[in-house]
Symmetry: C2
């Protein structure tokens, strides 16, 4: 299997310690997320929001956001509020997706899902609360960034979250369930919206905060489109090849729900190759940024090597 | 019964035709809301969002927003995007509140609720879609307003919607259901958050868009706090005194759910008097704005005279 450790590396890449980088960034994000919501009256809703927001995970989205901002010459401080906001939005989508009315999942990241702990009503409200707070958080906690950029971030996050983004992707995903004649185009639409839109927003917003030009935003957008699709292909593969325990959630759900997935269309081997190819195309988009692009390139490779 | 027609009027008030004003503003808001969301692929989610957004209602929130903006010297055009956004947020809260996991209502404004038409899954997503779009809409569709004001609007809307606002109020409301020992303080907290916070945001954001000073924002905030509570008292009264048909939704729900309401604490007559008193205090806050405050004052009186 291709892993982050055995792929061909350039001399610069060899110097870059991805594991240490991820660890450091994860810690920064955990601390910032932990500080973002404190518990007050009525406690239950803040506890429910924190329960899912602090349930671990790789924090890939906020890390991508920070990395894009730094690549474009910005600082971690400038992008941290937006990085937290994308994780809040992502968490909202997980809480709502897990509801009995949707995917009906009992476990997520090895823990009971939000509604299994707090009830369906509170889970719906915890998602709503996180979504509203994400936007408030960006505008109240972003400092030393021109307002023109801040409002662009709000626009991009809204667009990536609503019917034009992950909500639209989720709708088509629900409609496609049980259908065995889903085309690659439909599958691509689902994932470009359900997973891709928010990943793109992470990277692009990170760049915008640092003052990326429209050409640079284009490059960031292509990079993230490619890694978004690669990410989803790997997700589909893991659902087939891993156990519940390895995944931290119910495995084999796609097969059980008769979902059309990339492996079901292309087979496992071709799916892996396709993911690898998408990652290489993603990295090619960043050539002009030189060594500064190393973290984003390594993150792209990491995505295809992950095991959960 | 006190109605908008038989209350004591000053000469200026006598010249103000509230009915014509409401009709004109309602039409403006309907047209703006209709334009705000067009149907595209995947159609079902846009249809579900439009179904509830265009289901009528008094459009009191957007009208308050426009009125506050005009009182402070701004224009309808400046505030219309925010006016639409508050109605999107309000609609999201209705869709989610009506879900079986929450209040389990089949009818709203005389029409089937969103989940009865589109299913629980799509209803959850339609709410999420409207909420995300509200923020996007404010930043992309507000023109000729300084960005300092636009970001303040985003912060206020987020704060009024999340756990610090209507979500928090709804959580405490759910927790209080079936309890017969709810205090006036708890009831006030519920309504200040569940209904009051968004009403306040409408009025205050309208003012902010027009450049209101912090003292003026304070006055607008007090005005709307009072009418928010009056609005809720009237809502409780109507739930007892009106039929399903008059309300356009299931009547008597509060009694059935053994909810503590203002009439259950104070009785009907005292509740009516209290609502009237709150409206008078609300109007007193606007004295310094002279004749320009007439629409907001008349809207306050209208709230206590409504029959559905």
């Amino acid at each position: 299997m291709v892993t982050a450790d055995n792929i061909q590396k350039t001399p610069q890449q060899a110097k870059f310690d991805l594991r240490a980088y991820l660890k450091e960034r994860q810690n920064l994000c955990e601390a910032a997320l932990d500080k973002s919501i404190s518990i007050r009256y009525p406690e239950k809703i803040y506890e429910a929001m924190r329960y899912s927001l602090m349930a671990g995970g790789k924090r890939l989205r906020p890390i991508l956001c920070l990395a894009a901002c730094e690549m474009m010459g910005g600082t971690i401080d400038m992008a941290m509020a937006t990085a937290c906001a994308v994780e809040m939005i992502h968490t909202m989508s997980l809480i709502h997706d897990d509801l009995p009315a949707m995917d009906n999942d009992d476990y997520r990241r090895g823990k009971l899902t939000n509604h299994k702990v707090y009830g369906d009503d509170i889970a719906i409200l915890a998602g709503d609360g996180l979504l509203a707070y994400a936007f408030e958080y960006v505008v109240t906690q972003t400092h030393n960034v021109p307002l023109e950029r801040v409002v662009q971030v709000i626009a991009r996050l809204g667009h990536a979250t609503g019917a034009t983004g992950l909500v639209g992707g989720q709708v088509l995903d629900l409609e496609s369930e049980g259908k065995t004649d889903i085309s690659v185009e439909t599958l691509n639409f689902i994932h470009r919206h359900k997973t891709g839109a928010l990943l793109e927003a992470c990277v692009v917003c990170g760049g915008i905060i640092a003052g990326a030009s429209s050409t640079e935003v284009q490059r960031l957008s292509h990079y993230s489109e490619n890694i978004g699709l690669a990410f989803q292909i790997i997700d589909d593969i893991l659902d087939i090849t891993q156990t519940d325990e390895q995944l931290g959630k119910t495995a084999g759900k796609d097969l059980q729900a008769q979902k059309v997935t990339y492996p079901s269309l292309w087979g496992l081997e071709e799916s892996k190759q396709k993911a690898q190819q998408l990652v290489e195309e993603a990295c090619a988009e960043l050539e002009s940024f030189g060594d500064k692009a190393l973290p984003l390139k390594e993150l792209a490779h990491f995505i295809t090597s992950r095991k959960n």
